[in-house]
Symmetry: C2
Subunit: 234 residues, 2 copies
Amino acid sequence: MKKNFKKALSWRIWGTAVTFAIVYLFTRRIDLSAMICAAEIAVKLGIWYAHERAWSAAVPLAKEGTPFVLWFTGLSGSGKSTIANIISAYLEKKGRRVERLDGDTVRSIFPDTGFTREARNSHVRRIGYLASILEKNGVTVVSSFISPYAESRDFVRSLCGNFIEVYLSTPLEACERRDVKGLYKKARAGKIENFTGIGDPYEPPPKPEIIIDTEKRSIDETVEIIISYIKKYL
Amino acid sequence: MKKNFKKALSWRIWGTAVTFAIVYLFTRRIDLSAMICAAEIAVKLGIWYAHERAWSAAVPLAKEGTPFVLWFTGLSGSGKSTIANIISAYLEKKGRRVERLDGDTVRSIFPDTGFTREARNSHVRRIGYLASILEKNGVTVVSSFISPYAESRDFVRSLCGNFIEVYLSTPLEACERRDVKGLYKKARAGKIENFTGIGDPYEPPPKPEIIIDTEKRSIDETVEIIISYIKKYL
């Protein structure tokens, strides 16, 4: 209110000075120019204020869109981080406030986080809480966690407003063949316990919003499918 | 850019229509009114645009201020939640985006959180991470947790940009005398283990930004001290 008023006043000074100059240039009459400007100030201050309010009420909402939580789940090597990074960059380009939450990054901040069912569930719940509070504050969240258990994923869903579960359903064989981080090799050699898909189960989501097998779809195709889904929130 | 341009156009239509009406009213000459309006459109579109950009660049920054994390620590019953609620309401009134994080609330969402040193430290670290990400996204955080251990409080400090530790140093005797939630009574009766101040230690912060003994200061005084400290971020 205060800001709008100051801005209106500031513009009125500039606007009316210009009007005065123009009218005087055309008529060479100071009295007429002054009267026209006086009338202009009286009428336009009100109209300008109404115009300003209408725009500031209408536009920001349409621009910021609805925040949401895009939750990638799937085996190690299914492409969660890669796809999530692309989507996150896309949203940022669109002027969105985006927070990118990644399993590896968060675990590097909390190195004591375990890999038992209890520890994983607790970890995912905490991240989901974080995501839901960010969403509540207008920040869109793009998260990539193996999040192997239905229980904690459903907990996260219950906390969030617009929760979009993206299940990368790439089969174990394909993920193991890629083995980008060399983790499957280590797990097969018995060097990693509780590795999802080897020593630990992955519970596929029964009703994800999006399901894509990245063995059958290229990165570009995968990104396109997701973007066409989230369009309604943009 | 696009929005500003549309808005400029919209205002020019309204603004020039009014100018035309006023000039015609004073001169009764359509040709003169039209010429003046043509000149006005040419000159004002540019000036208006510059004026708009100057204001949208200058004002929002000054209005939003710098986000920060206000972290209340102290014994149960020292007044953390009460004071934090008042400060949080004050900031919201000032137009801030504020997230209020409270020990009891968060524990009700995560009822399995334990009270051992390890569990408490891990809990506080996680909350601190959440606070730091909110701060990074422009949200000011007002948190109230007993957070009894220096280790995890310092971890939170290291994550946050503007971390303000508010230590409510009210002595145990005073907190126990208040015993708002009846917890001290239960702890003395041996019904609560690991209760801070009774079965568990509280490590006072060596260098808090603010330290207030709420036995010696009223609620109003306490609020005033804190507000005068955070003024620089508003």
